[in-house]
């Protein structure tokens, strides 16, 4: 292996005393106690199987957690789709969850206000439900201008769904349709 090394060096290496000196500092004495104990930080952690949230290829992910916090997200080697691999976005998905600037509280902006305010979850949910009900009532159409029955509201609309779960889309469509809302759209059309 070391045959390309200058021969003078190689020759010296074989001498009993000098040779030892030449390896000094590169053998066992250099390794620290920490290094000798090294191991992967996910050993012994809880793992959860998930699916990448970015594009539609559907790569399997393994999510390692410790005490309810993400430690590592990597590809699931068992998935026949990606066999453990991930693209840069998928590989960054731990940072997506733990991103700087991640929202954890509701931000509320009054009409014409210049700043955000905070709002607690229950209040916000009440306010939104009120507004949806009001928009439904204010814009209820039983028949359209031709007199055809429509039983609907065009007072509010919905956008988005391609990043959500099917269960979520299902409940959204179910609730909106029951409310008579029809302007329900998502990314499939862009």
């Amino acid at each position: 292996m070391g045959s390309s090394r200058p021969r003078i060096f190689e020759g010296l290496r074989e001498l009993p005393v000098v040779g030892r000196a030449l390896d000094w500092g590169m053998g066992a004495s250099a390794a620290s106690a920490e290094t000798k104990k090294a191991g992967s930080r996910i050993a012994g952690l809880k793992v959860t199987e998930s699916v990448c949230p970015y594009c539609a290829v559907g790569c399997g992910q393994l999510v390692y957690t410790r005490d309810g916090e993400l430690v590592d997200v990597e590809g699931n080697p068992r998935s026949p789709i990606n066999q453990g691999t991930l693209c840069p976005k998928g590989a960054a998905s731990r940072q997506l969850v733990q991103q700087p600037g991640r929202l954890t509280k509701i931000k509320y902006r009054r009409p014409y206000a210049t700043e955000w305010e905070e709002l607690d979850l229950e209040t916000a949910m009440d306010m939104i439900a009120e507004r949806m009900i009001a928009a439904r009532e204010d814009h209820w159409e039983e028949r359209d201008e031709q007199g055809w029955k429509v039983d609907r509201t065009r007072g509010f609309a919905h956008l988005g769904g391609a990043t959500l779960d099917n269960e979520e889309n299902y409940l959204l469509k179910k609730l909106y349709t029951a409310m008579g809302a029809i302007q329900i759209e998502n990314q499939a059309r862009i």
Binding site: G2, A30, A31, D72, N82
Partner: protein, 299 residues
């Protein structure tokens, strides 16, 4: 090898074989490496004339780096008038004249190469390190022990491949460890695991070299006669730093990828020669000084 600092006799040499002919330039390796090793972003800088490469080079916090090389070939110009040109809405717009003045090189190849620490057999950084922070592991990889490194910076210019660097904030030197912690638990390094097209192969070194040789021959058979191995399979005397633990299959001269055509551990290549010259000169100097004094005092 007596250089090995961790004693686990059952271990084999492990390495990377990065095959640029199946690389798609997605940079998954860069991100997977940062994710696993918890490295920060190097700062978002738009680089000119570097194609899609905006991280620039390997650094203390970028341990995998994908280079993009746009290789063009000049072609004769189409001698044709342009739509919307000639006398378009912008007065002097004359795309035909422009076409004549500036050729349009045709795209030939867009080459991607995921660069990484080479884990040299004769490692310049390892030879230079005065603290023993850099060691050779039982997998014959070269790692920096972060709890030992004191940031002397000597490894930085000692690497003939420009891999290791000192972090400007933290002060310690850092580079690819071939995911030493993962290897300890029998896991594949993060970059190789993530690579969507298995352009980065990880495995026992001997097997990898065999695979790589077969790959070169397969490419030759397919007409890709430019294919060659960078860092493995060479004749003694022509090896790069005594063979590279992480070697590459390239299809263009190494300079296109920022790799030297030849490399050796500088300490091994130059150290003995320089030391001899230095000691000789110093002895001469000392003798001269003594002589000068003796002469002056004799007078």
């Amino acid at each position: 090898m007596t250089e090995i600092a961790i004693d686990r006799p059952e271990s084999r040499r492990m390495g990377f074989f990065t095959d640029t002919t199946v690389c798609i330039g997605c940079k998954a390796c860069e991100v997977a490496c940062k994710q696993w090793n918890d490295l920060p972003a190097d700062g978002a800088v738009f680089r000119k004339t570097s194609s899609y490469d905006h991280t620039g080079s390997l650094s203390a916090s970028t341990w995998r780096h994908v280079r993009f090389v746009e290789q063009t070939e000049p072609v004769p110009l189409p001698d044709l008038p342009a739509y919307g040109g000639g006398n378009g809405g912008h007065g002097e717009v004359d795309l035909v004249a422009a076409a004549e003045a500036h050729g349009v090189p045709q795209m030939d190849r867009w080459l991607f190469m995921s660069d990484v620490c080479k884990h040299c057999t004769n490692a310049g950084c390892l030879d230079a390190c005065p603290t023993g922070a850099l060691i050779r592991t039982e997998f014959e990889t070269v790692i920096v022990q972060p709890d030992v490194c004191n940031g002397c910076g000597y490894c930085v210019p000692s690497c003939p491949f420009g891999v290791i660097n000192r972090d400007p904030y933290d002060g310690r030197a850092a580079k690819c460890t071939l995911c030493y912690d993962r290897l300890e638990d029998g896991l594949e390094p993060a970059c190789a695991k993530s690579c969507p097209t298995d352009s980065i192969l990880f495995g026992p070194y001997d097997e990898l070299v065999e695979t790589a040789k077969g790959r070169v021959l397969a490419l030759h058979e397919r007409g890709v006669t430019d294919a060659y191995l960078y860092g493995a399979g060479d004749e003694p005397g022509e090896q790069l730093a005594g063979e590279l633990g992480a070697f590459f299959l390239l299809t263009a001269p190494p300079e296109r990828f920022g790799l030297p055509a030849q490399a050796e551990s500088p300490a091994q290549e130059n150290g003995p020669v320089a030391t001899a010259a230095g000691l000789a000169a110093a002895a001469l100097g000392l003798a001269a000084a003594v002589g000068a004094f003796a002469r002056a005092h004799r007078r």
